[in-house]
Symmetry: C2
Subunit: 216 residues, 2 copies
Amino acid sequence: MKSEQTRDLIRTTALRSFREQGFDATTMRSIASQSGVSLGNAYYYFPTKNHLVQELYLEVQQAHRAAAEPALAAASDLTERLGVVFRTGLAQLAPFRDYASGFLTAMVAADSPLNPMSPESAPAREIVVGLFRDALAGARRALPVEFEARMPHALWLAYLLLCLYWSYDRSPGQRSTQRLLDQGLALLKAALPLLRTPVLRAPLRRLLDLVGELGA
Amino acid sequence: MKSEQTRDLIRTTALRSFREQGFDATTMRSIASQSGVSLGNAYYYFPTKNHLVQELYLEVQQAHRAAAEPALAAASDLTERLGVVFRTGLAQLAPFRDYASGFLTAMVAADSPLNPMSPESAPAREIVVGLFRDALAGARRALPVEFEARMPHALWLAYLLLCLYWSYDRSPGQRSTQRLLDQGLALLKAALPLLRTPVLRAPLRRLLDLVGELGA
DNA sequence: CCTAGTTTTTGAACATGTTCAAAACGACGA
DNA sequence: TCGTCGTTTTGAACATGTTCAAAAACTAGG
């Protein structure tokens, strides 16, 4: 009970090291020794290295929300508001660009707690899904009603894909990712009126239902 | 020179084990001992465990082509032809469903030879991109000309995303993936006429250009 | 048939994530 | 103060991917 301190010490050391050295170079042994603690002790508090990354993951999403909410207040156009959420999210990831590969590897396994769709990631996931919900809710012109329920979740998935692109983007300053986002939003804006035609609306709704099964 | 046999023995043993036991359970030591060879010897022929998976990867894509080409000959509608390529591809992956996670993990790292976008994966990649090129070329009604160059590559990426969905799909028999594909093709079919309107064509072309940067 | 050089093969070693039995510690009732 | 029980901490151990120096097998050239 007392030594909640130890847990926090390990957590803090690990998160600093993740930021400064990346996932691979941050070794459980280095975390332990930098914390002045034995290797086994780190495992007493965190069952897995991935569980330590989870803490980082949550911290990043919280920073995302802190950055997005004020910026959202200043935008009223739908695609503009979505752009805010996407862009502030990418901004949080920027420091990790060099180590993206290592983190990505730990995140894709279906049974990893780090998988964005895992139950363990639910708190972090809810933050971002919530941001997209807010972005939609506060927009001047709303979406067709039948999309509103599924859309935040689908946008979150789109955000994950954008992050995937970002992690592979080798253009200087990840300019390509920025442009992909801009062009994607432009396409959405142009396509928005067409979504009201029944021809597109029906298959699109079914598509959203299926996509929604991920991380439900 | 002579002992090309050894290389083949190791390769064969490894591929069989990958199919039967999956990626994680197939250990470099088990490959070596089942081949009646020392651990170090396996590394003499394959610099990395991932390089062994690469052999499997290529074999799977070749089977994909072998399954797709005859089926393509019987279809003339564009979306139908695309469906053939998608479906025959998924069929090759079915045996690996239980181990998808392990393979996926090895594939996402940007610097892994197993990454579908890596230069090492080029031969396997070209097979599938080529299938999509054929599917487009033989269709009754063609796409707008300006899309033709980028489209096969973009479809290959869409195929990768479908595989990603498939690997997370926990529905019995991966029915959800089947339906996602069906609905996606239905949406494409419905949207196809709209792609000729300049309002959509311009941002879509720019999007395709950016997407094309992956694995180029 | 010997020797020198090249190709193959081996086995030990290392780093890392993870597990676990045992030791150290700490609080608390007798 | 002592002993006991639960919590914390430790260090050794294991499996795995990978590296490497040295041994073995092989191939020519004389």
